[in-house]
């Protein structure tokens, strides 16, 4: 009886402690989020960004191909024409309105794949929680990359 208890109960417990004890001295795989963040893989697909060229012009030409490719139908693009006085992108056309409904997005990256200019890219910012539903509709202003800092010569 005693031997049986020792074998079926005490031994496994001791084994468990032994394992934990051993692991105590290994490197930890958890990080102290949010103070600490893990490095993400280069092809991680999280929050979208509308990229700019080095000269500051928007890459997006308002072609709506991303909206057409999106399986969640969460992108809305309204285009308009560039003029020489008011130029947003190279060429004739730019996106006047660009919205993504982040609640519907499934982060599949099809938009990125469809984009002929590499304008919409999914980057690594994954902290997308918010309080209001309305705030999940990301507008063009929120998505656009900040103007590149002009490098000093």
């Amino acid at each position: 009886m005693i031997t049986e208890v020792g074998k079926d109960v005490v031994l496994p417990i001791l084994k468990g402690f032994l394992l934990t004890g051993k692991r105590l001295f290994r490197d930890k795989s958890t990080v102290m989020y949010p103070e600490q963040k893990r490095e993400s893989y280069p092809r991680t697909r999280w929050r979208h960004v509308l990229a700019r060229y080095e000269n500051g012009l928007e890459k997006c030409i308002g072609c709506s191909l991303c909206a057409g490719a999106c399986p969640a139908r969460c992108i809305y693009v309204e285009a308009a024409e560039n003029t020489n006085e008011e130029r947003y992108s190279p060429g004739e056309r730019y996106a006047m309105r660009y919205e993504i409904n982040m609640l519907r997005c499934i982060f599949c990256g099809f938009c990125q794949e469809a984009c002929p200019t590499g304008a919409i890219v999914l980057r690594s910012d994954f902290e997308l929680a918010d309080y209001q539903r309305e705030d999940f509709v990301y507008t063009k202003e929120m998505l656009l990359e900040p103007m590149p800092v002009q490098s000093e010569r």
Binding site: I61, G62, C63, S64, L65, A67, G68, V77, E78, A79, A80, E81, G91, E92, R93, P116, T117
Partner: protein, 712 residues
Amino acid sequence: MAAAANEPQSVILTINDIEIEVPRGELIVESVKRIGLEIPIFCYHSRMKPVGMCRMCLVDVGFKQPDGSVRMMPKPQAGCTLPADNNMVVYTDTEKVRRDRKGVLEFLLINHPLDCPICDRGGECPLQNNTIFYGPSTTRYVEIKRHLPKAFPLSKYVTLDLERCIQCGRCVRFTEEISGDSQLAFRFRGAMMQPSTFELTDFESRFSGNVIEICPVGALTSAEYRFRARPWDLQTKPSICLECSNGCNTWFDYRVASLVRINGRTNEAVNEEWTCDKGKFGQNYLNSPDRLTEVFVRDGDKLIESNWATAFQQVSVAFQSAGSKCAALVGGKASNEDIFMLKRLFTEAFGSNNLDHRWTRCLPKSDALYRVATSIADFENEPVIFVFGNNIAEEQPILFLRIRKAWFRNDAKVIVACPEACEADTFAHTSLRYRPGTEAVLLGAIHRAATGAGGVDIAEASSITGVGEEAIRRAADAMKSGFALAASRSLLDLRNGEHVVGALSNLTIACNSSEKYNLFATSANEEGARQIEFMPSAEGKNTREILEACASGEMKALWLLECDPLSLSHDNELVTKALETVEFLVVQNHIKSECVQFASVLLPACAFSEKDGTYTNLERRVQRIKPIIAAKGSAKPAWKSFGELLLRMKGDPPPFHAHEVMQLIAASHQKFQSAIYENLEGEGVVIPANQSTEPQAVDVEYTAMEVPSNTP
């Protein structure tokens, strides 16, 4: 076989080893459709003559020899210019054909900018589609492409991107063969060949919008639609156009509940596939901030926003106290259902018969003068056509296209009488340019020349009208053995309109053509209002009498449905006085018009894109519209509000759906029985004409009218 003699001869040919019988002379590109195949094309268009410009339609062709073997032609043939013949053997999908197609597309793409992402045609582009299905997947062309102006404004509607043009010639041929204005032509040769207007003037045409639709690439695009959406952003529903009385079928493309563009929809009996620019570009009022979307009632000098219940309350009090001293006038954009329910409201609840839909100066009682006997499609086969009065290309543009087609395809003799230069002159057998006001005299002279009696002396008429004697005789010669008349009810706006129309009727009777007499409606549902008899009966007042009674204070209440008398009537002074004087004025419209300022109650109505209903076009074709976008604000279909008012005043159960209203119409107007909603899918239904007795000649004064210089 006697029956076969009349039928077009047929031939037997083999397509992809399948034997089929087709009419002799049918083009291969059409024949293959019979077995469910398709040959890729660019320049071929079934409504225009084939030219063989793009070589996209190449097929392998051979002939069966008497010994049973097949001898193939050494080179591929263009399927769009090759008529089917006996013993012909066609292959549409051999290795050779596939290689040729790849080659053709590769050539076309050499000079194509491939800016599909920003091209308005991208997504619905035949060049994209053909390239995906038949083209090469990579390019071998690394040199610099041809560069030409982009976004060149051909007119205020059409933008030309020369880089994208593949020189198929469709646009050029359209202006030559269909619209007839010959505005576009090719300049230069070879790679630099480009369609343009003569000396780069504005592309002036009533039909320019069509070239946008038939251009197989994004070279011709709409200036209004430019960058507003991509095809996959749009939702599309069938609709009809209300800009004139033709009732063209359209596709209504919308995005986020607002209209983006209008395209032509095929209805062989009406507009084939064309639209006029008025219809294609003239519908922006739907998105206008001037739309009437809320109920307003008058409070002293101001109109204050209110609700339907208050408005109904005020309306029923005012109209009940007015007794039979109330009237209703409608405009051309009210549907059959609206008109019928308004008529019911007035006859049943208000006990008034002062109803009218006509806005012309003369309002003849005779129904015979308003006859329409010939359908739009029938005009195509008429040998002699007499176009009389105003510029038909402006009033009934699509009917104009049919008449031009009758001349272009079937050599019809078209006699054009118009006081000003007009498009129809370009193909007229005889063109009679008379002095304004002398219509009746001219008709009298033609009458005399055609019959040798009646009418007026030709020499005298010639000096009054300014039309040469020779021309009058020539016209009369062509017309005397019968003709189809194309005239519009705007003739009744002339001071002696009744006489002019009477003279037309007499002329048709004299030339044995009274069954081809047509006096066409000018606004979308004018004919519908006529068929529903939205007109004063014996004791009722007509438009002019109503306005006069309003101005004198005798009429107590007036209801204006979808009309602005200030723009419709010739007598603005009378209208202003009438609207100022009448005690209670209801204005019900989808848009704020000028007469809003006089209204006691302002009721919002749904525009055609927001309601269910039917419209009757000039040939009495009843066509259905369905609600496409949601009603704005508290607007509702006018017929619904009349039903509710009837319920309030008489306790009649209101109809809940437009098809119930149509059943009511059919119950009280026999001829609408074929037009119940189940029958209206497709091309619509032409309702029969009023049974009328043999038209009688009327007494006419063949005299000229003084025309004040400011009215035409």
